[in-house]
């Protein structure tokens, strides 16, 4: 028995093409709203603290992930941190090569138990290392829109 089935012309090879319309809108939530407004309006990072567990959450949470207590103690945290881990990206979301590689890092924020995923800038990819001390570079206030990209990138300190 054969499964051979010859098509007479390449146009007969059917590929079904389609497009699924997907539009999404993500709200920041109660804690996220305050976190990003502080960045936008005051150029500073905030976290929430759990007094029971002595943990500072960045980004801020409304409840403690350890003890589930409601958190309402907001604290200003430094805009400096250390590179916890990083990767060098050479392609965009559609797989197209980037002209300049971008460095993405998880930055552990000093004095807290949390951190942010963000770009590293003003640094050569070869120079990046885990443990590197970095600081947030905020965009000019007029350019801030209330989102994580109100921080342009993190750059090495010193």
């Amino acid at each position: 028995m054969s499964l051979m089935y010859r098509i007479q012309h390449p146009r007969d090879a059917l590929v079904w093409e389609g497009e699924i319309p997907l539009f999404s809108r993500y709200t920041m939530g109660i804690a996220g709203e305050r976190f990003f407004r502080e960045i936008m309006e005051n150029g500073r990072l905030m976290g929430t603290r759990c007094p029971e567990c002595d943990l500072i959450y960045v980004p801020p949470r409304l409840y403690c992930e350890q003890c589930f207590a409601h958190l309402d103690e907001w604290v200003e945290v430094p805009s400096t941190g250390q590179v916890h881990t990083y990767t060098i990206v050479h392609a965009d979301l559609d797989g197209n090569p980037l002209e300049e590689p971008r460095i993405l890092a998880f930055i552990h924020i000093d004095g807290t138990d949390g951190g942010l995923v963000h770009y590293l800038g003003e640094v050569d990819p070869d120079q990046v290392c885990i443990g590197m001390c970095v600081e947030a570079v905020f965009k000019d206030k007029a350019e801030r829109k209330g989102g994580i990209l109100d921080i342009a990138y993190f750059r090495p300190v010193g």
Binding site: W16, E17, I20, I30, D94
Partner: protein, 166 residues
């Protein structure tokens, strides 16, 4: 631990437009290309020509539509295509007052599974019913395909516009 109930926040379109709430948008590119394969590829080509085809299992004799290249009862490969009628019987149906993107409609769409004449009992395709009073639709109703004009067909299930009562 003290119970804490968070205040409920209702958001309206105006809240977004007037910047009262921060948000991010993302419109992911969800284009895709799906290789129809041998059986469905042939099925779509035949639709373009105004015909319905199925496949027959040489082992159990079942005639299947939409066609497939193996029999899921016998696990044997299939290589025989058989022509089918473009008439059939309503196996099941639904009256649908909401479109796929959740818009209410007054006149219902009537999706139905239509057992195609020439295929084994229970073998059918999903399509719409038309030219029929929604209240008059019954399981077992005899229907026939209404085709698009040949020049408008593109090798798609929508080359059949709908099925109407015989």
């Amino acid at each position: 631990m003290k119970e804490h109930v968070y205040e409920t926040v209702y958001l309206r379109e105006k809240d977004f437009q007037e910047g009262r709430v921060l948000f991010e948008t993302w419109d992911p590119n969800a284009r895709y290309a799906w290789d129809a394969g041998i059986a469905i590829g042939r099925f779509l080509q035949e639709l373009k020509a105004g015909r319905l085809v199925g496949t027959r299992c040489a082992n159990c004799g079942r005639v299947m539509v939409p066609p497939r290249m193996f029999c899921e009862h016998c696990f044997v490969p299939i290589d025989e295509f058989v022509p089918l009628e473009d008439t059939g019987t309503v196996i099941t149906f639904s009256l649908c007052y909401v479109t796929w993107d959740m818009v209410r409609i007054e006149e219902p769409q009537i999706p139905a599974v239509i057992g195609i004449d020439g295929a084994s009992p229970g073998m059918g395709i999903m399509h719409l019913l038309g030219e029929v009073d929604p209240k008059a639709v019954k399981i077992g109703m005899r229907v026939a395909a209404v085709w698009k004009p040949p020049e408008e067909r593109e090798g798609a299930i929508t080359d059949i516009l709908y099925f109407k009562p015989l």
